[in-house]
């Protein structure tokens, strides 16, 4: 567009990316339903209002936990998510039985979450861009990274590289999954290597860190992205706050390891409210996706007919 025309059209445009907002809470005519209370503002909320706002308190902006599938659905273009690698399930290679047997923990996690492990990955479109998207679910053994999580993340990067897709990961984690011992620790190297290969192929990777993100996941693929966002209130670090406190033998400063303090310390690009996330990530992809990789058939893979 000739720049002079554009100047004329510019009137009223916003200079920064704005959110989509969320619907007004329904305060009157309360239908039957579930009520929950907000830990931040102590308000009593109608579950329907919370859900309509992507599980964000409509009064104070507190971000409630979201399950992985809901996170992904809220982020990508509607109806485009197609799970991959769902058939992978955790083994118990070390027969880890110190404390609660690992097999028991896995079984319970599968039952309560309906997931096969802590990471959910798949193809999708985001703002029309072909991506591989993934999310970790804290309910599944603390979203710890064992062989299955590592493999799913590495495959996500590999698939994106093969099909010239971007990668967007919604990360939460307690760290490496100790019940798989060194097999878990090595997933840090594996996923980091995979992220490095994606970068080497000139494809973008955006990560979004949600509450909490710690340990071996922070110290590997989670922060190897081109742009790092975090959700408001997310706690993010390598060592957990209790360990740090024991190490330094004094109490921690206010806001330590909070998303907001990580922006100040130069570690992440911005804290992005959930309701603005889709727009923001999609805008980043507008800049970073190679022109030839984006197209109308963003959601369809190039290998076979699988979506």
């Amino acid at each position: 567009m000739p720049i002079n025309d554009w100047f004329k059209q510019r009137e009223g445009r916003r200079y920064t990316v704005s959110g989509q907002g969320c619907a007004e809470p329904a305060t009157d005519g309360v239908p039957d339903g579930v009520w929950r209370s907000c830990p931040q503002c102590k308000g009593t909320l109608y579950q329907g209002d919370v859900a309509r706002c992507l599980s964000v308190c409509p009064h104070c902006g507190h971000h409630f936990e979201l399950i992985a599938r809901d996170r992904i659905e809220a982020l990508v273009d509607p109806g485009t998510f197609a799970e991959i690698d769902g058939a992978l399930t955790s083994a118990d290679p070390l027969r880890f039985s110190a404390g609660k047997p690992y097999g028991t923990s896995l079984e319970r996690a599968c039952q309560t979450t309906g997931m096969t492990d802590a990471a959910l990955t798949g193809r999708a479109a985001l703002g029309g861009h072909p991506v591989v998207v993934g999310a970790l679910d804290f309910r599944f053994v603390g979203a710890s990274m064992g062989s299955v999580v590592g493999e799913r993340i590495a495959r996500a990067f590999d698939l994106a590289r093969d099909e010239r897709r971007g990668v967007v990961l919604l990360v939460a984690s307690g760290g490496a999954r100790m019940q798989e011992g060194m097999l878990s620790l090595m997933q840090m190297a594996k996923t980091s290597a995979a992220a490095g290969r994606l970068a080497g192929a000139g494809l973008p990777y955006v990560s979004v860190l949600v509450n909490p993100t710690y340990g071996g996941v922070t110290a590997s693929f989670a922060v190897l992205s081109d742009v790092i966002f975090a959700e408001p209130g997310a706690m993010i670090g390598f060592a957990g706050p209790r360990l740090v406190e024991q190490t330094i033998r004094r109490s921690l400063p206010k806001g330590f390891q909070s998303a907001a303090s990580l922006v100040e310390h130069g570690m992440i690009d911005d804290v992005v409210p959930r309701v603005e996330l889709r727009r923001r990530v999609s805008t980043v992809l507008d800049y970073l996706m190679p022109a030839h990789a984006s197209g109308a058939d963003a959601a369809s893979g190039t290998q076979g007919g699988e979506l």
């Binding site: 200079y15 000139g202 742009v227 922006v263 310390h265 980043v284 800049y287």
Partner: protein, 320 residues
């Protein structure tokens, strides 16, 4: 808010005040007032033209530092859409004196990197008055590398008195951070367009201050050393800065003549702060034109040409 008055504007400001006072009198009781006001108005207009149409280098330095002069974020707000600010050096801090963002100029997707002075004292404190710390340069380097990897042209805005000269800036490697910016910028496989919009102070400006097309506002400056510090070194007297400013060849016109920049963007009478929207739009036009002119170039050619351009800067004799 009263307009900030620069030293050399004082005679004009006094006349303007007098004019305002006259206009406040009751014209009915003093019929000769009308003529007096008309005279003074002509006088003010003549002085304004005289003062501003031939600013000395030192006066231009003052205009370039005018607190109401448009800042990098005014250009960003005025010119760019879909701005995604990128923050942090991933090692120490987010330095707000250096602004980096993905941004779109009339459909042209670029990486914006600019020194960022504040509009208020509070903002200026947060932004260290536009003087980057090492982490600011490391943030800029990160933005450059990202732009290079994803093929985004880089647009930089220069507006700094210089790199921050604090104790901790030295301890965290100010020189190292600037040097890495220089090396990275030189080798960037994307077009680089530089706009000098205010102060261009020494190495802190240069770190993001050279490229394939360089433009400067008429009253901005770009200098190897501040006129004041130069005067202290030469005469042990900062008050002799006007002499130094003249000696340093630091105005946009000087630098166009020396072949260091490519174009001078005219400012309205009195300086960019008198008509900021006009100036911002004009700078936007020039940047867009430069981006369009560079858009088709082969990337290796671009880097080689940028190197040859740098190699050609310098004046010396070569005997025999």
């Amino acid at each position: 808010m009263a307009r900030f008055v620069m030293e050399f504007e004082r005679p004009l400001a006094e006349l303007e005040e007098k004019l305002i006072a006259l206009k406040a009198l009751d014209i009915a009781t003093t019929p000769e007032l009308a003529a007096e006001i008309a005279d003074l108005e002509r006088e003010v207009e003549r002085l304004r033209v005289t003062l501003y149409s031939a600013l000395s280098p030192w006066e231009k330095v003052q205009v370039s530092r005018h607190p109401e002069r448009p800042k990098t974020d005014d250009y960003v707000r005025g010119l760019f859409d879909d701005v995604v600010e990128l923050r942090g050096d991933r090692a120490h801090a987010d330095d707000q004196s250096m602004f980096t963002a993905l941004a779109t100029l009339a459909g042209r997707r670029v990486m914006v990197i600019g020194h960022n002075k504040g509009h208020s004292t509070k903002e200026n404190v947060a932004r260290n008055f536009g003087s980057p710390h090492p982490e600011g340069f490391r943030k800029a380097e990160r933005a450059m590398r990202l732009a290079g990897r994803f093929g985004l042209p880089v647009v930089t805005f220069l507006d700094t008195a210089g790199a921050s000269p604090g104790l901790e800036d030295e301890e965290r490697g100010q020189a190292w951070a600037i040097a890495r910016c220089l090396e990275t910028l030189a080798g960037l496989p994307v077009p680089v367009v530089v706009a000098g919009i205010g102060e261009g102070g020494s190495g802190g400006a240069l770190a993001i201050g050279f490229g394939d097309r360089m433009l400067m506002l008429e009253h901005s400056y770009y200098s190897v050393i501040s006129p004041e510090m130069c005067a202290v070194i030469l005469h042990k007297d900062a008050a002799r800065a006007p002499e130094s400013a003249a000696a340093l060849s630091l105005t946009a016109a000087d630098l166009l003549r020396l072949g260091i920049i490519d174009e001078v963007v005219p400012e309205p009478l009195g300086g960019a702060h008198r008509e900021p929207d006009t100036v911002i739009a004009e700078v936007g036009l020039r940047i867009a034109a430069a981006l369009d002119a560079l858009a088709g170039d082969d990337r290796a050619d671009l880097v080689e040409r940028r190197y040859q351009r740098l190699r050609a800067i310098g004046v010396y004799n070569e005997a025999g």
